[in-house]
């Protein structure tokens, strides 16, 4: 196989907060959105890539000059943002914003662009598209705004689509419509989709492979079926146990005690140690390695060289699976 479309090699992003450099872990997330932003070099001003590499078609994104970067943005790698209301310009009509995206990459003849935009809006399921191109974002519903964002992403036919929680602001019916749209896009055009989500149900609907992140690091990677049927990392197992399922009616739902560790106080070894039901002394002493190829996991349990088997169970384990 030739060069993969996107390769992430030990990416490390740091944010400077009050003079301190912090790993890219936000309060709510585990660095999922940061990864998406880093991909397009759109990190906020206090963030920077401190280590590792992001390779797009074999080229290091950090090494691109401004014009090269500009040409890739949107036309090669397009991003759907989480919050469609604040991500669209309130003083420009949606048509004007879509038009600017086409113009920026010199796509289509000037006179055909409007037609292309209307056709794309129709494709993403916006009724009355010819009228809606002249509307401002605040005149449209949340679902429609999100579809405008998706239309913008699809308009340029990118090779890679980064979708950052594209459905989390929408109700379930709309969610399904959007997911169907993304599936169709992948099927018809072969677009690769990097789908960022905290919702395992949605992930199982759309993804082929999944990477589970915890405290800014990938902890497990597998194809989606394996991930759901044979999760290895205790965090993944706990996550899956917390999804309500028709098959497990009547059982109590699993939950993970404690919370994602504070940015200022990450455990020195395994970040999940304090919440892990299987924690042993070694988990607090040595950072686990990210092992395997294709099917990867970052946990001492699966590392025969880690000494997990001979390490005594940690008596100080405060939390665990219920």
């Amino acid at each position: 196989m030739s060069e993969p479309l996107l390769r992430v090699e030990g990416l490390e992003v740091v944010y400077r907060v009050q003079g301190r450099r912090l790993p890219a872990v936000s309060e709510s997330g585990c660095g999922k959105s940061t990864l998406g932003l880093a991909l397009l070099r759109l990190l906020p001003q206090n963030g920077e890539i401190a280590g590792g590499r992001l390779l797009f078609r074999g080229r290091d994104i950090a090494a691109l000059d401004r014009e090269e970067l500009r040409r890739i943005r949107g036309s090669q790698v397009a991003m759907i943002f989480q919050d469609p209301l604040t991500s669209l310009n309130p003083t420009l009509t949606v048509g004007a914003q879509l038009l600017d995206a086409l113009r920026a990459h010199g796509r289509g003849a000037a006179k055909d662009r409007r037609g292309r935009i209307v056709a794309m809006l129709e494709r993403v399921g916006i009724p009355d598209a010819a009228d809606r191109v002249g509307r401002y974002p605040h005149e449209l519903s949340g679902g429609m705004r999100q579809r405008i964002m998706i239309a913008m992403a699809l308009l340029l036919e990118p090779a890679l689509l980064v979708a950052d929680e594209p459905t989390s602001a929408l109700d379930v019916t709309l969610q399904m419509q959007i997911l169907e749209l993304l599936r169709a896009l992948r099927r018809d055009r072969g677009t690769a989709i990097l789908f960022i989500s905290h919702d395992l149900g949605v992930v199982s609907e759309i993804c082929d492979r999944a990477v589970v992140m915890y405290a800014g690091r990938p902890v497990e990677e597998a194809d989606i079926r394996t991930m759901f049927e044979q999760p290895r990392h205790p965090y993944t197992q706990a996550l899956l146990a917390s999804i309500p399922s028709w098959r497990r009616r009547g059982e109590e739902l699993g939950s993970i005690r404690g919370r994602v560790p504070s940015l200022f106080d990450l455990p020195p070894a395994c970040a999940f140690a304090d919440r892990c039901p299987h924690v042993r002394a070694v988990c607090r002493e040595q950072p686990p390695r990210y092992l395997g190829a294709g099917r990867r996991v970052r946990c001492h349990i699966y590392d025969s060289a880690s000494g997990y088997a001979s390490s005594p169970p940690s008596l100080t384990a405060r939390a665990g699976l219920r």
């Binding site: 943002f81 309130p90 600017d100 995206a101």
Partner: protein
């Protein structure tokens, strides 16, 4: 929108009426007998009576007010004591020059202030930003009469680039413009600084907005992002102060017109205050105030035009 327009124009009308009432009372607000103040040493009982009648001071105060407001609505602002010409004629001759001055100052302020603010905001804390910061604050804190005097000394007396005094005539546009340059610059300097600061602040805020990130994410050119996507949002607060700005410019015009000996409302007001020429003062102040109200109305409407979110709120 139409409903808002009617409401807004109604308010402007009300302000205008209140203003006229206030101006009619102005004569009584100044201590001492107005007629004696006007006539001074020339005062004879006969003259006093004539002037009293002319000014309507023989009537009760409410009747005076009613008369002034009524006449003003018919476009009659009384007669100049000195020349006995209708005040409206004096204003008609002076007003175009003041408007020319105020509008060209405003144009200069927009032309230089906004790009300076944008440039400062695109490279915050860069050399240009620091430089415009210092320059802006210096400009804002320099009163127009100081700036006017220095400009006059520098560019008319030391380097004879522009005429020092006078207005020129509309029939010689080039000469008129030459006369206009220094006063307009003197009046505009403070506003250039003010606009630069204002635009910089709102641009900095807007450039951090999510939709600007979107624009970058879709590979738009920096110039398109800054001038089309960001400036259109950042300009809204600036437009809001434009109305007030135009009023301030009219006020500032008083000094500048006196310094450069220009014909205009400002110099007319100063002159007529010196001679206690009440009708002229009243007429001029009324004109300036009406222009101020009008400018605010226009700024408010254009502000609504720029921000589509407000347009909708008003129409529903």
């Amino acid at each position: 929108m139409l409903q808002y327009l009617i409401k807004r124009i109604g308010m402007a009308f009300l302000v205008a009426v209140l203003l006229m009432v206030f101006l009619a009372l102005l004569v009584h607000a100044v201590p001492g007998d107005p007629v004696n103040a006007i006539l001074g040493q020339r005062s004879t009982p006969e003259l006093v009576r004539t002037v009293r009648e002319q000014m309507g001071l023989d009537k009760t105060v409410p009747a005076q007010v009613a008369q002034f407001v009524g006449h003003a609505f018919q476009g009659d602002l009384g007669h100049d004591f000195v020349s006995n010409l209708p005040v409206t004629n004096l204003i008609r001759n002076a007003l175009p020059h003041t408007i020319a001055l105020a509008v060209s100052s405003l144009a200069l302020a927009i032309l230089f202030g906004i790009p300076l603010g944008v440039l400062a905001a695109t490279r915050p804390n860069g050399i240009l930003d620091r430089l415009t910061g210092v320059v802006s604050i210096s400009l804002i804190t320099t009163p127009s009469y100081i700036a006017g005097l220095y400009l006059l000394l520098l560019f008319s007396l030391t380097v004879e680039l522009f005429p020092a005094v006078g207005t020129g005539s509309f029939s010689h546009p080039i000469g008129y413009l030459q006369h206009l340059v220094l006063p307009a610059v003197a009046l505009a300097l403070g506003w250039i600084g003010y606009f630069a600061r204002l635009v910089r602040t709102s641009m900095l805020e807007i450039l951090n907005a999510n939709y600007i990130r979107t624009a970058y994410a879709y590979g738009l050119r920096e110039s398109v992002i800054v001038y089309r996507h960001a400036l259109k949002n950042a300009i809204i607060p600036t437009v809001a102060v434009l109305g007030v700005g135009l009023g301030e410019l009219m006020g500032g015009a008083v000094f500048v017109e006196v310094i450069f000996s220009r014909v205009g409302l400002g110099s007319l007001i100063v002159e007529s205050i010196e001679t206690r020429n009440y009708p002229v003062v009243q007429g001029c102040v009324l004109t300036v105030a009406l222009l101020f109200v009008l400018a605010n109305l226009l700024a408010d409407l254009s502000y609504r035009f720029l921000d589509p979110r407000i347009r909708v709120e008003e129409s529903t």
